[in-house]
Symmetry: C2
Subunit: 337 residues, 2 copies
């Protein structure tokens, strides 16, 4: 297109949900590298419902939008400069989508649809990376879930993500955008404070003891689930932004690799990394409501499509803890860890 | 609920898409039987974008609505008398949904969502039977598709149906309605004239010769697909309206049984039923556009969940042709088939 040809060789990027945990880490990583897919970073658009703090090393043409995609005209405003890569991370988390049915559909579904439609109306075809979730799956499951397993979500959040995956594939098939969806494992160890996600304890039982604080374990140690570090998640997003999407054919969403581990595996790794006494900070307080939600979650995936494309996650919880120590507590990589 | 307890024991029924082929046949069948799930027919609400012709044997409290569910307030009007069973058949067909992107999403997705939301706002929990389609699947496929296979539609129509399936399950899980989705095979032999569906030739290559007319075969005889008669489809809808939905758990949509057959199987059955000379009326005129669409369609399903619940389709094309002759040409059942 003439309009595209006349522009600089720099790559312009829009991040929705840029004030969230993944959004902030993604922006930090992009700024640190200064390029994406071999092209130097140009315009950077940061959009969220709250004001995104602009990192000190951001380029001059960084723009912050405080906006709600589900509101009329909001999405059109974000894409009118035709950002070439869009990371669509904006969402309310599972707990909130379950507690507020209308808000969940408005933000997670209608907001995404409005973004896709604004791109179609703008009439250009950006790469759009959509952060989906393994919450699109609902049990009963086989022990290891193949890529071809059906999406039968048991939460409104998972339903909304699965609907957007379908929309992403159809908008891509119609050449309205170039979409790649990635189903993220449960991201652990999340830094900072707990959010409303039912999965919060998976992070807090490690994060709080590593910081000398108590944490509550609301479920049994035998509970198995599917994990990756925030660092791995950011690497997934960046790879999805630059991969040759023709390889995907009509199936535009990939289940990302992860680590299948039990709560017991998590605690054993914590003990190895931080010592036996740290375990005494984990208080067992069974919570039937949380146990009921997380018991329906998947335990392990083949993720063969993503693995074949070179997506890689951690293979032990020791590694996941090491990522937290390095990225959040500024500890140097441990040798032999 | 007090409101429900005070009403008559008769069952009230809403049919959306009541002027369509399946809608008309469903209403005829309900009127002929006079009851549903052991309860006598009460109020009958017939809704479509065009005026539904009311059969002569319809009860006095039959009401016809000319309405578009996607318009504000339209769905609320349909459910304000709280019909206890809703057959949601209204949709634009695959060819039209592909040709008109906006109309397809508006009618097939937004219209369905508006209906579900109107039910939620009305605050009662009807059985809602949603007519979905095997178009929710997109190749490549295994030879026989299991119930747990993922939905990766390769048409906007299939995308819209898959999105509504997800919404149906979530509204059901939240107890806003009691939904059962059924994925219908390609319905053959459709009476009357061709519609805009790409699947139209599957009916016309039998229907037209049976009526002494020429028909065009746009694809190869080796093409295999998944079929059931209109009569079987109506039986599926009625069974879905009265089955114990607790059996379904969180997975509310069932792939219906069908007959896996090639175009060659269809023509061989035509020859057996109507004689060799009938075959000369089938003109081979390859159409790459149609061939491309239908080549991505599934060939066969396990449908094990639906079969276990007692759903049954035809097992030969001779039977499917016999249904057409009996139901559309008023021929008595042939002995010996």
């Amino acid at each position: 297109m003439a309009g595209t040809m006349g522009r600089s060789d720099k790559i312009s990027i829009l991040v929705t949900g840029s004030a969230g945990m993944l959004g902030r880490k993604l922006v930090q990583r992009i700024l640190r590298e200064g390029h994406l897919g071999g092209r130097q970073l140009g315009e950077l658009l940061l959009a969220d419902v709250v004001a995104t703090e602009v990192p000190a090393n951001a380029p001059g043409d960084t723009r912050v939008f405080v906006t709600d995609l589900s509101q009329p005209g909001a999405a059109a405003e974000l894409v009118k400069s035709q950002p070439q890569v869009i990371f669509h991370l904006a969402a309310v988390v599972s707990g909130e989508a379950e507690a507020d049915f209308d808000k969940g559909y408005r933000i997670n579904f209608d907001g995404s649809r409005a973004l896709f439609e604004a791109i179609r109306q703008e009439g250009y075809v950006p790469r759009l990376v959509f952060a989906s979730s393994v919450a699109v799956f609902g049990g009963p499951f086989p022990e290891v879930i193949p890529d071809s397993f059906f999406t039968t979500p048991l939460s409104s959040y998972g339903t909304q993500k699965a609907m957007v995956e379908l929309l992403l594939a159809d908008y891509t098939r119609r050449r309205f955008l170039d979409g790649v969806g990635i189903r993220l494992p449960t991201i652990t160890i999340r830094p900072g404070k707990p959010n409303k996600a039912a999965s919060g304890f998976y992070s807090s039982i490690l994060r709080e003891p590593l910081n000398g604080k108590e944490a509550v374990l609301p479920v049994d140690e035998s509970l198995r689930h599917w994990f990756a570090s925030p660092r791995a998640a950011i690497a997934f997003l960046l790879q999805a932004a630059s991969l040759d999407s023709n390889i995907l054919g009509g199936r535009r969403t990939l289940t990302m690799p992860g680590l299948s581990a039990t709560v017991g595996d998590q605690l054993a790794a914590l003990q190895r990394v931080a010592g036996e006494e740290t375990l005494t900070l984990v208080k067992r307080e069974p919570d039937a409501a949380i146990a009921k939600i997380v018991s329906t979650w998947p335990q392990s995936f083949e993720a063969s499509g993503a693995r074949a494309l070179g997506f890689v996650a951690e293979s032990t919880f020791d590694e996941i803890i090491a990522v937290y120590l390095e990225d959040e507590m500024n500890e140097p990589p441990r040798s032999g860890g």
